[in-house]
């Protein structure tokens, strides 16, 4: 049994907690968050040890083996460092850290610790993306020439059915590391790396429609370092959208064909929910394990990434996403920021 501490119980952290509770071989021992309401919720789902400060959770590190972290970006480095030094395996939400310097420190800390470490690059676990990667690897579309990846959403402006204001740290570049590019673009750039390998930035344009200190949109063009593949990344926080509508797509253009995620995601998410929900219901009746969140389609990837991470911990494999992946993604983002700034000045 892997004993887990969940640090940070915001929207993502709470989702990770709920997923941990459904995973076989995982026991949630403790949680930490500054919100009393979140801690109360954790207690209501059976977590016995709750802490208002994650440092207190880490002081009791002998009771746990692994931490799952979903903290504001600017807290990642310190929390990861303390957890690794306490001898714990670490799963952290993206971005791995706010800048390249911090990411490099994390890579070194991970290497030194010898612990399992994974960054939450959940988009790699979306069913359509997995299918596209398999098809590409099998050569179905020939050699990859151009990849277009886009996601336009509400970003931090989205809120659930309980309205709550956006936390201030999102709009403080020192705390967030940036805006839409480091938030959503992080995933899109990681997907380009997933399909086409390492990359460099050819072009970068940031949008500031909202007049905030951080960008609310970005278009970045990438070139693969190891092939002729090019990438177009288009991300934004400026669109009013509500789940189940989700403005995300990947198109892989090869020299022998193309693949579009639009053809692979369910056409009707309500019908999909009904189908997957029925399947889970039957699984439950016959005593089989359900596929948590499969009815939501996109949210299932959060369960799958954690399942993969804990699998790696228990079977001693290397996770699909390493600290180096986190570093390389942030390197590209920083390069895009710097390129835009340089060209804006000129």
């Amino acid at each position: 049994m892997i004993r887990v501490g969940v640090i940070g119980l915001g929207r993502m952290g709470m989702l990770h907690l709920m997923n941990c509770l459904k995973l076989d071989g995982v026991e949630v021992i403790a949680v930490a968050d500054s919100s009393k309401k979140a801690l109360k919720k954790a207690e209501s789902v059976g977590v016995k040890n709750v802490y208002a400060d994650y440092h207190d959770l880490l002081k009791h590190s002998s009771d746990i083996d692994t931490v799952v972290m979903s903290l504001p970006n600017f807290l990642h480095l310190e929390a990861i460092q303390l957890a690794l030094e306490a001898g714990l395996d670490v799963f952290t939400e993206k971005p791995m850290a706010n800048n390249v310097e911090e990411c490099r420190k994390i890579v070194k800390l991970v290497e030194k610790s010898g612990r399992k470490f994974m960054v939450g690059h959940c988009m790699r676990f979306v069913d359509a993306v997995e299918k596209m990667k398999n098809a590409l690897d099998k050569g179905s579309i020939g050699s990859l020439e151009v990849t277009t990846i886009e996601e336009i959403t509400n970003g931090p402006f989205s809120y659930g059915r309980i309205p709550a204001p956006v936390s201030d740290w999102w709009f403080d570049p020192k705390k967030s590391g940036g805006g839409a590019l480091i938030d959503i673009g992080y995933h899109m750039i990681d997907l380009f790396r997933f399909f086409a390998g390492d990359a460099r930035v050819d072009f970068s344009r940031l949008g500031y429609k909202f007049n905030l200190p951080v960008e609310d949109g970005a278009i970045v063009m990438l070139s693969s370092s190891g092939s002729s593949a090019k990438g177009i990344i288009n991300v934004g926080w400026y669109q009013k959208s509500t789940f189940p509508k989700y403005n995300f797509r990947v198109i892989l253009h090869g020299n022998a064909g193309f693949l579009s995620s639009d053809d692979l995601v369910p056409r009707n998410l309500y019908f999909h929910a009904l189908k997957e929900g029925s399947k889970n219901f039957l699984r439950r009746i016959v005593g089989k394990k359900i596929c948590p969140l499969s009815y939501t389609y996109y949210y299932e990837s959060f369960y799958k990434e954690l399942e993969h991470f804990f699998d790696c911990v228990s079977k001693d494999f290397d996770p699909l996403v390493s600290a180096t992946d986190g570093l390389k993604t942030v390197e590209i983002i920083q390069e895009a920021y710097e390129k835009f700034r340089r060209e804006s000045v000129n």
């Binding site: 929207r11 709470m14 989702l15 709920m18 997923n19 459904k22 402006f157 989205s158 809120y159 659930g160 059915r161 309980i162 309205p163 709550a164 204001p165 956006v166 709009f171 429609k209 909202f210 007049n211 905030l212 009013k240 789940f243 929900g277 889970n280 219901f281 699984r283 439950r284 359900i290 948590p292 969140l293 009815y295 939501t296 949210y299 369960y303």
Partner: protein, 308 residues
């Protein structure tokens, strides 16, 4: 109270908006003079979605009003553009994101967060409900309080326009607490806060989708404005619950409401009304089904979809 509501067609340019505002006020015989020293303009900045989405008041309309007020009342009139924090919205960001900070700089007006004003707690009884409101005193003490709502539909109340924008003046940010009896709350706060003038931004109205309507509406009585707004949005005014409650409450009688300028039909034809009755049921049914399913299948509800 004057029950006349003017409707004026406008184009999307500052010049056209300015002249439409002037025309709409002429049609309701609303005069401004140099005795007015302090003006508060309350747009609808309910969230961070800009005017093109039909959700928030277009800064161009506020610009037009500022120019008009300065022209009539003199250059030195004190103008504040005011909004209160809401459950999910913070004015400090809304003013920036929606272009009001830029407007304030250009026009030398003050942006004011009503939630930070001196708030006085007032109790109002509407029907069976005893409602407490935090009332910003600025709105009671200024010489001219101009309400500048949007013209849009809303699942909970069918329409949201003049009276609902006054609900947005409540100083307490977590206004979601009123949503269980929203219609009563709208009527209650309108008994405490009465704008001197309402100018509706109908440049882009929100029906099922945002629609370029090109309308400026004006009236001194928010009830009358909402009565006409309901008709434009495709609802029978007497079936809009908060208007019904307002009638019962004695706020206003619809008799005597008249329009001047363009006709309601001219604007009504362009709007597609959402089917809220069925969507409300569908929305509640979805929540119920989700809860039942997750309990029976032992599945997870993403926190995003969870209710309070």
């Amino acid at each position: 109270m004057n029950s006349i509501v003017s409707l004026v067609r406008t184009r999307y340019s500052l010049e056209s908006i300015g002249s439409s505002i002037s025309e709409s006020l002429n049609l309701i015989n609303f005069n401004l003079d140099s005795s007015i020293k302090s003006v508060v303009i309350k747009p609808n900045l309910c969230y961070y979605w800009d005017a093109a989405t039909g959700q928030t008041t277009d800064p161009q309309v506020i610009l037009g009003i500022i120019d008009f007020v300065r022209e009539k009342c003199g250059k030195h009139v004190d103008i504040k553009v005011a909004e209160a924090d809401a459950s999910a919205m913070r004015t400090k960001y809304a003013f920036t994101v929606l272009g009001y900070k830029k407007l304030a700089r250009e026009k030398n007006v003050e942006l004011f967060n009503l939630s930070n004003d001196h708030l006085e707690e007032k109790t109002v009884v509407v029907g069976k409900h005893e409602l407490k409101f935090q009332v910003p005193q600025l709105l009671l003490n200024c010489d001219l309080f101009i309400n500048v709502p949007k013209l849009k539909v809303m699942r909970e109340t069918k329409i949201t326009c003049a009276m609902k924008n006054i609900f947005g003046c409540i100083g307490f940010p977590r206004k979601v607490i009123y949503h269980k009896y929203l219609d009563e709350a709208i009527v209650g706060i309108n008994r405490l806060l009465r704008p001197h003038l309402t100018i509706v931004d109908g440049l882009i109205a929100l029906g099922r989708f945002p629609v370029k309507l090109g309308l400026i509406m004006a009236g001194v009585d928010p009830f009358s404005v909402d009565w006409v707004a309901s008709q434009i949005l495709g609802y029978t005014p007497s079936k809009v619950r908060f208007l019904k409650i307002a009638m019962k409450d004695g706020i206003k009688n619809p008799e005597g409401i008249a329009t001047r300028g363009a006709s309601v039909a001219e604007f009504k034809k362009n709007l597609q009304k959402p089917k809220f009755t069925s969507s409300t049921y569908w929305f509640n049914a979805q929540s119920w089904l989700l809860k039942v399913y997750c309990k029976m299948a032992d599945d997870v509800i993403p926190p995003f979809l969870e209710e309070a």
